[in-house]
């Protein structure tokens, strides 16, 4: 299916006209529902704005609940108010423009320069704020306007002639005047170019909103007739237009010759305008900037005085008080408040070309639109009310806020019409402003948040959008989904690594829609016949006409019979269905992989332990999520990209991330260690779960004459034939680095793993061979044989390991940490010695004999030496313990093979827990000069500063226990802080880099096609296809081509 795409989204401010235009109806009543329980007309939830009650129909689109998306309404504000979000910007604009003429206080040249800069930034898709900031800064500096002047009358006689003279003064003057956008006509009358905007069309009563507004605005602006704001326009006869409100009226009349229009004002004065004819329509143009004689004289005088022609109105200082108050400081220092009407008037005067200097697009955002005269009312569907159990309606926070606004608006109007005192009007205005402010943002610093009756602050516009739970992050970037399940996970080594065990209960709930065709008709019939209660059944059936029918106990038989080609069946999840499996936190792409379903009894998801590492899962109560794919495309994509076996190699470091853990490693370690011999029966028993044809030649015969096979041979059975590999295992002690010779195949620790033609020749299998993150064998099989082979190998290896470990038996208990008496004595002697050494150090320090290390204070030096000494003591104790435990000890075995735990863990259990620390230092805090009251003041000895000499097995003394808890607490706090820090870190990284992609030319680019890298990673190699970061394994090629080992 070819889908339509949204190509772009444009942002802008809503103009009052546009708000009215998109409004489905005016809202004037603050009430919601009437006594009859139906929405009140012209009310806040009126049915023109959409419906949220079942059964009702929308009065605008006729849709029912769910069909009608909702429609905006509007509130006509009795007085303009500032939009809080733009209050700061409004202030900046006010300071940057002339208080009189509205032009930006910059010379034409500067303007041109800034406009050019802004354009350049725009072309680069770069931020324009830097330039705009500069504009505001520079413009605000100018105290005098260079565009409009105070007019003072002087004798103008003779000046006209001078201007027309071809003198140098005359031409310079002319040039400069023309620069300002004026024209010099023949008889030296200057006038601004006529604003081409049409005022109104005479052929009909101005009926569209824009034209009407233009006319009224013209009257308000140019003739200061503020009362016409809500005036009615009507036609008296075909030659006269009447604009009236109440008892006041003005008239426009067309001359008999139909070539000019006369405006008759109340005071008897009249003005004439020429009329322009276009087709059959007559247009009256808006003549704004007619330069008066006085002005002309003024300009001339200035030029003749050899002064700048720029000069004029002194700019008064404007003060801004948060959140939405502006004040102008008069010459006498008195502050006069600028009401939103004043502000709006000033903003209106700014010409479009100057608006662009603020980085604004005058078509989409005129400055005066930041002062609201009309308020859009969001559709009811965006603020649904909820019905409480008591049947009472509880309205949305936005509705509450709108109620407040309408109430105040109403009161304001009433008071004003009644001619209330200015003080009261201003108070109400302020209140209206407050409500509109909090309607947009209820967390404005400095003003109290609007509260619900219960005292809870209301969640208004801004609060709805922002934050994690806000619209953007909470409802648009992430959504709740259907067809998903979540439950606890538990291990199942008998299922494949790319499978997931799904409880039947869940399988019956989650469905996949299947189109019924001639080929699956019978199968689907059978499925439907089984109903929704029996497992491989179906929950819904969709008929050919699109009607959806639930499969119930009473209708499944009949539905099955009726079922036909073209129907759709929503059948249960069955074995082999592909699903997505996920564990949070989803830190990398391997946190969501595709698995195949295995429906099972029980209530948990079953997961092969080998896939725990990519999910970072364990079975101590972890829960995971499962998502059922609903389209064929999604399933195909999941199969090709997300299957577990395709993601065995981590893109982070180019090595396997799926692999054996815990017992898998121990099992194979034990199996392949040394030359364990197995007779045929034993060998076959260990290999019983593995699909093999032959065991191969026995390694020899036992003393009783029966043939035997070695553990290495048994392991070799699961290796693909032809596999060649050599590497050093985890047990390798890096002899070469210590200047010793590597014994290779003859390594006494069996650290040199050599595989030739699929046979394990030497070495023991440990973490390095099959473990996750390392897994050399898995790595090689994946590269040479592919994901399926690697998957098969992991499965076989895990079965082999479990079978062997089952046979051999393996346990680890408290008695495994036992150390013979002599060992204990040695350890305690060692520690005592160390403690004495510490004492000596302290004595030396106190005697002032200690030499400070360079760049260290004496005290720091002492601490450092003590820490070193005690650390060494613990390590040595561990070595002794290790010696007495022996390699056969389960713990040592696990630590050495890399299955679980470390030598340090064993040391702490068996020998000595060691020094506890807070922030890398010995424990210092507590009482004055001491950590606990059990010690003397100023005691610096090992045990007084958190050295735990006991082992976990022996048990800790009360003081030791306490110190251990201190150290443990730090670890806990650390983890808690780290998760939140790294979470945010990751979010930022993802956000910054998510749009980068490799293009077809091999470059890495972002959305604006800026090249970030010319070749990805400098060599164009995908790390997940590399060998631990290297694109070509040269050693391997050489070995295979010429048998050289380098």
């Amino acid at each position: 299916m070819r889908t339509k795409r949204i190509k772009a989204i444009k942002f802008g401010l809503l103009s009052p006209t546009e708000i009215r235009k998109m409004s489905a109806g005016k809202v004037i009543t603050a009430d919601t529902y009437g006594e009859d329980g139906f929405p009140i007309e012209m009310g806040l939830v009126n049915q023109q704005l959409g419906v949220i009650d079942p059964g009702l129909r929308c009065k605008t689109c006729g849709g029912r609940m769910g069909e009608c998306p909702g429609h905006f309404g509007h509130i006509e504000l009795a007085a303009p108010v500032i939009h809080v979000g733009y209050a700061k910007l409004v202030y900046r604009i006010l300071t940057a423009t002339c208080r009189e003429c509205g032009r930006v206080l910059l010379s034409e040249g500067e303007k041109r320069r800034y406009l050019e800069e802004i354009k350049q930034q725009r072309d680069k898709h770069a931020d324009v704020n830097g330039v705009v900031k500069q504009v505001f800064k520079e413009a605000a500096k100018n105290e005098v306007c260079m565009y409009c002047g105070e007019y003072f009358s002087i004798d103008a006689e003779g000046l006209d002639d001078e201007l027309n003279e071809k003198s140098s003064v005359g031409s310079e003057l002319r040039e400069r005047i023309e620069d300002r956008g004026f024209t010099v006509s023949k008889n030296a009358l200057f006038r601004r170019e006529i604003d081409p905007e049409c005022l109104f069309c005479w052929s009909r009563v101005p009926d569209d909103d824009a034209e009407q507004m233009r006319l009224l605005e013209f009257l308000m602006r140019d003739f200061e007739l503020t009362w016409v704001k809500d005036a009615r326009i009507s036609k008296k006869d075909d030659k006269t237009l009447v604009i009236a409100r109440g008892k006041r009226a003005v008239e426009f009349s067309l001359s008999p010759k139909r070539d000019r229009v006369t405006l008759n004002l109340e005071d008897g004065s009249s003005y004439e305008f020429p009329v322009k004819k276009q087709g059959t329509e007559l247009f009256v143009h808006n003549f704004r900037w007619v330069i008066t004689d006085k002005e002309r004289v003024y300009i001339l005088k200035r030029v003749l005085d050899k002064l700048s022609i720029y000069c004029g109105v002194r700019q008064k200082q404007i003060k801004y008080e948060k959140p939405t108050t502006y004040k102008e400081i008069d010459d006498d220092g008195k502050e006069r408040r600028l009401m939103p009407t004043d502000v709006r008037e000033r903003l209106e005067r700014i010409p479009d070309e100057d608006v662009e200097l603020f980085g604004m697009d005058p078509k989409n955002a005129r400055p005066e639109w930041m002062v609201l005269t009309v308020l859009p009312v969001p559709p009811v569907t965006a603020r649904p009310s909820i019905t409480l159990e008591s049947g009472q309606r509880s309205e949305d926070d936005l509705t509450h806020k709108l109620v407040d606004i309408i109430r105040i608006n109403q009161r304001f109007m009433e008071n004003r019409d009644a001619g209330a005192p200015q003080l009261i009007i201003e108070d109400l205005w302020e209140l209206l402003q407050y409500h509109v402010n909090t309607y947009f943002d209820n967390e404005i610093p400095g003003i109290p948040p609007a509260r619900h009756r219960s005292g809870r602050p209301l969640k208004t516009m801004a609060q709805r959008l922002k934050g994690k739970e806000g619209r953007f992050r909470g409802s648009l970037s992430g959504k709740r989904v259907n067809f998903s399940a979540r439950t606890v996970i538990s291990p199942d080594p008998d299922i494949e690594i790319d499978e997931v065990g799904v409880p039947e209960e869940i399988a019956k709930e989650l469905t996949i829609t299947v189109n019924v065709t001639e080929r699956n008709l019978e199968l689907m019939r059978e499925t439907v016949r089984r109903g929704s209660k029996n497992h491989p059944g179906a929950n819904y059936v969709r008929r050919a006409d699109g009607r959806k029918v639930k499969v119930t106990e009473s209708n499944h038989e009949t539905l099955a019979e009726e079922l036909d080609i073209g129907w759709k069946v929503e059948r249960h999840l069955v074995d082999g269905d592909i699903v997505l499996f996920n564990r949070q936190p989803s830190l990398h792409r391997l946190s969501i992989m595709a698995h195949y379903v295995r429906v099972m009894p029980g209530k948990t998801f079953r997961l092969n332990p080998a896939v725990c590492p990519p999910y970072n899962a364990d079975y101590d109560g972890d829960e995971m999520n499962l998502h059922v794919l609903q389209t064929e495309e999604a399933r195909a994509e999941a199969k090709i990209l997300m299957e577990v076996q395709r993601n065995i190699i981590s893109p982070r470091f180019g090595r396997p991330i799926v692999g054996g853990i815990h017992d898998y490693i121990t099992g194979l370690f034990l199996l392949t260690m040394g030359d364990r011999k197995f007779n045929k029966e034993e060998a076959l028993d260990i290999l019983r779960d593995i699909d093999i044809d032959a065991l191969g030649e026995p390694a020899g015969v036992m003393s009783d004459g029966s043939p035997y096979w070695t553990g290495k041979q048994i392991f070799s059975v699961i290796l693909p034939p032809g596999l060649n590999l050599q590497f050093r295992g985890k047990v390798c002690e890096r002899c070469e680095e210590r200047g010793l010779r590597c014994e290779k195949e003859k390594c006494p620790r069996e650290a040199y793993v050599l595989i030739r033609d699929g046979k394990l020749i030497s070495g023991v299998i440990d973490e390095m061979a099959i473990g996750s993150f390392k897994g050399m064998i898995i790595d090689r099989i994946f590269r040479v044989r592919g994901g399926e082979a690697a998957k098969r190998f992991i499965k076989n290896a895990s079965r082999l390991a479990t079978n062997y470990i089952l046979r051999a038996g393996f346990s680890f208990g408290i008695s495994d940490e036992d150390i013979p008496r002599e060992g204990k004595e040695q350890i305690s002697e060692l520690i005592e010695e160390a403690e004495q050494k510490v004492e000596r150090l302290i004595m030396a320090y106190e005697a002032g004999e200690l030499e400070a290390l360079p760049g260290r204070t004496l005290e720091e030096t002492l601490e450092l030496l003590i820490m070193q000494e005690l650390g060494r003591a613990r390590d040595e104790a561990g070595e002794i313990a290790g010696k007495y435990l022996g390699i056969e000890n389960s713990g040592v075995l696990m630590a050495k093979s890399g299955a679980r735990g470390s030598i340090l863990n064993l040391t702490q259990m068996a020998a000595c827990v060691g020094q506890q620390s807070v922030r890398g230092e010995r424990i210092m805090r507590g009482y004055q000069d001491r950590t606990l009251p059990h010690f003397k003041h100023g005691d610096r000895s090992a045990d007084a500063r958190g050295f735990v000499r006991s082992s976990f097995k022996d048990g800790l003394s009360p003081a030791e226990y306490f110190f251990h808890a201190i150290g443990g607490r730090e670890a806990l706090v650390d983890t808690a802080v780290r998760t939140s820090q790294s979470g945010y870190f990751q979010r930022r990284l993802i956000n910054a880099l998510q749009d980068l992609e490799v293009k077809y030319d091999g470059t890495v680019r972002e959305t604006q096609d800026t090249v970030v890298q010319f070749t990805y990673g400098e060599d164009g190699v995908d790390p997940s296809k590399s060998v631990g970061g290297k694109s070509v394994d040269i050693d391997e090629i050489l070995r295979e081509e010429i048998g050289a080992s380098t």
Binding site: T3, Q981, S982, Y1016, K1025, E1041
Partner: protein
């Protein structure tokens, strides 16, 4: 010279090769490789006729593939430089086993493997890189300080350090330099220590006691002779410095009195502070400098505090090998490419120190993204994420409301090219499989 080398030398001497020459040969070759031939010997700088002599003595025949053949064949391949170098050096070692055909087949195979390992177009490498760095973040330690060497210099490591790098801070929380030295400075401990002493910042308060006396309204400075001599500073230097204040000064037996101009307590206290903090010696910002021997046996200086520009002018400093962990400073002094490399180095080193394996390619991508515009930009609100072209993406990241208000004013257009934007409007993203358009033909059309 180890035992093996000595054996070779002895063997060669026995065969009549001069000792000096034998040692030269033994240094780079083991016995089996010595069988290689002429080119290898020439590469050692042995003169041609000597080489021929040696070969004659050893009875070695020239092999089919020459050094130049390897060089030529490998250079002709499409492999990346690093692989070429590795391949060349490894081929040289096994040259005697090669034939021309074998050489061809080896290089061809390497090329094939390289081609196989290449990224596919439309791969969302940015996300993979971000995940690869972010995912191990949970495994990193928090608030670790570490010493440079055994010395006393603390350096922030682990997650805080990574965040610091990515934040493009003007100054790291623990600035530090590794100053490499030239010539004698690198081999002579004493000279290195003198240099270290010379760059360590020394304020008057470090070498003298500074007191204010309200009694006679002056500042008294008592010089500490021991400290002065320890740091190798002349008394005169300090006095000159104080004189540069241009204040009335009185000197009397090891004590200096500085008088204020207008006898105000306020001025007295300010002056005291000013005098105490005057730099007499060293480089401002370098709080400590410690000499250590590096792994290659040279002496070098570790510093606490960083001043790359100033250190470059110090004699004995090998500026080309000197580094700092202050990335902003590197960008400032050495330029953006150096800063980019510094980001990569610092990140990789921090990750490695934590024992985390992350492919360098991911790190390079992050470093490149941070530096594309020619200045080091932060990953976050005030950098990359905040300057994205998409309104919706910015709004979804942080400061939602302000971004929307701004967008309206500027009349911005969101062209829905990125990931978040498309997720928000509910359409497939333009990456990976989402970027490819394939329309299946209708079943009927096929027939």
């Amino acid at each position: 010279m180890d035992a093996g080398e000595r054996d070779i030398v002895r063997a060669l001497e026995k065969m009549g090769i001069e000792r000096e020459m034998a040692e030269l040969v033994a240094e780079d070759f083991n016995v089996s490789e010595l069988k290689a031939g002429r080119d290898e010997l020439l590469a050692l700088g042995i003169e041609e006729h000597y080489a021929d002599d040696i070969l004659k003595i050893l009875g070695i025949e020239e092999s089919e593939v020459k050094f130049s053949d390897i060089e030529l064949r490998v250079n002709m391949s499409s492999l990346p430089d690093k692989i070429k170098e590795e391949l060349k050096s490894k081929l040289r070692v096994v040259r005697r086993k090669l034939s021309r055909e074998k050489l061809d087949s080896i290089v061809d195979r390497a090329e094939r493997e390289y081609e196989k390992a290449r990224v596919e177009p439309r791969e969302a490498v940015g996300i993979v890189a971000a995940q690869s760095i972010g995912e191990p973040g949970t495994q990193m330690t928090l608030r670790t300080f570490h010493y440079a060497g055994v010395g006393a210099i603390y350096i922030t490591l682990g997650l805080p350090r990574i965040i610091e790098i990515v934040d493009a801070r003007k100054k790291p929380s623990t600035p530090a330099m590794k100053v490499r030295l030239t010539g004698e400075y690198a081999s002579n401990r004493h000279k290195a220590e003198m240099l270290a002493m010379g760059i360590e910042e020394t304020h008057i308060r470090d070498v003298a006691k500074v007191e204010s006396s309200t009694e006679d309204m002056c500042i008294r400075v008592y010089l500490n002779e021991r400290e002065l001599s320890r740091r190798g500073i002349e008394e005169g230097e300090v006095i000159d410095k104080i004189k540069s204040l241009d204040m009335p000064i009185q000197e009397e037996d090891g004590k200096l009195k500085i008088y204020t101009r207008n006898n105000s307590y306020h001025e007295l206290l300010r002056l005291e502070e000013r005098v105490a903090n005057m730099l007499v010696h060293g480089i401002e910002g370098i709080r400590r400098a410690i000499v250590r021997k590096s792994q290659d046996g040279e002496y070098m200086v570790y510093t606490e505090g960083s001043a790359l520009k100033k250190i470059s002018r110090i004699e004995g400093v090998d500026f080309s090998r000197t580094t700092t962990n202050n990335i902003a400073e590197i960008a400032d002094v050495l330029g953006i490419e150096a800063a980019r490399n510094a980001i990569i180095d610092e990140m990789l080193n921090t990750l490695e120190e934590q024992g985390l394996d992350v492919d360098a390619r991911h790190v390079t991508l992050i470093a490149d993204a941070m530096t594309v515009d020619g200045e080091v930009k932060q990953i976050g609100r005030h950098g990359l994420a905040g300057e994205k072209a998409s309104v919706l993406s910015r709004a979804a990241f942080e400061v939602t409301v302000d971004n929307l208000l701004e967008a309206a004013i500027h009349g911005e257009t969101d062209e829905l090219k990125g990931v978040t934007e498309n997720v928000i409007v509910g359409q497939p993203i333009r990456l990976g499989t989402g970027a490819v358009e394939l329309v299946a033909k209708n079943y009927s059309e096929l027939r």
